[in-house]
């Protein structure tokens, strides 16, 4: 199963890109380093909820909203797999 942090990271990245903002800009307003933000976005770093909250604030999002989106995405990506399993059985 894919890691939760990978999904949170990619959702944050998608939001940042949709807002047309750079890593540098968001990192600065979230007061984290550019490298750190980049690692969080790529799911390489397990960020605490506190840091995720400040990244979300910088993106004018709520962390719980982002996590809810991840839940919806997970089901969307899991559904086709379930069908395959049922077909095989």
């Amino acid at each position: 199963m894919s890691l939760l942090r990978t999904h949170i990271g990619s959702t944050l990245r998608a939001q940042r890109v949709a807002q047309g903002r750079t890593l540098r800009d968001v990192a600065k307003s979230a007061r984290v380093s550019l490298g750190y933000l980049s690692e969080v976005e790529r799911g390489q770093k397990e960020a605490s909820s506190e840091l995720l909250n400040s990244i979300c604030t910088a993106l004018e999002l709520q962390l719980s909203t982002v996590i809810t989106e991840v839940a919806l995405e997970l089901t969307a990506s899991a559904a086709p797999q379930l069908t395959v399993v049922e077909d095989a059985a």
């Binding site: 199963m1 939760l4 909820s49 709520q62 962390l63 719980s64 909203t65 996590i67 809810t68 839940a71």
Partner: protein
């Protein structure tokens, strides 16, 4: 006379009220004893110091929320009730202003027994597969609370997606 466990829970209730008024750093054992209507000696019979009391308060809150969620008629209702409790909690609201470092500690994964308790309770209620996401969702609200409408909407979305 009140039983030991009754005075313990009275002290913890008192502690929560005091934290909601002044935050955790500014709260003290004397005020908490007064709020709980017990003597200072009784407080110290139960808790060696403020830190031990605060940890016990967090523990009793985790257990209280777990019981609440277990009693809920449906998973979406359990999520909504947990979100409502966390997002509207007056002690956490004060601590966001007065004790941001303590708030940061609450939401950071660690090998602390209380973190394990929160994790295991979430697993028990919502299943191992979903507990990570749900725990993150709830912890997010300690730092950034949701409105009732947001809590309802997101609880329904998560329940229909995962549970």
């Amino acid at each position: 006379m009140s039983t030991p466990s009754r005075s313990r829970s009275a002290i913890l209730s008192g502690a929560k009220i005091v934290v909601a008024q002044v935050g955790s750093y500014e709260s003290n054992m004397i005020e908490i004893a007064a709020k709980a209507q017990v003597s200072r000696a009784t407080v110290y019979n139960h808790f060696a110091d403020k830190e031990e009391m605060m940890l016990s308060l967090v523990e009793s809150e985790i257990l209280r929320l777990a019981e609440l969620a277990k009693a809920a008629p449906a998973p979406s209702e359990a999520l909504f009730q947990l979100a409502t409790e966390i997002s509207n909690d007056q002690a956490l609201a004060m601590m966001r202003k007065t004790d941001p470092q303590d708030i940061a500690k609450f939401v950071t994964a660690s090998d602390h027994p209380l973190w394990k308790l929160a994790n295991e309770s979430t697993e028990q209620i919502f299943g191992i597969k979903n507990s990570g996401l749900i725990l993150h969702w709830l912890l997010a609200q300690i730092g950034a609370p949701l409105s009732a409408a947001e809590a309802r909407h997101q609880a329904d979305q998560i329940a229909s997606a995962l549970l």
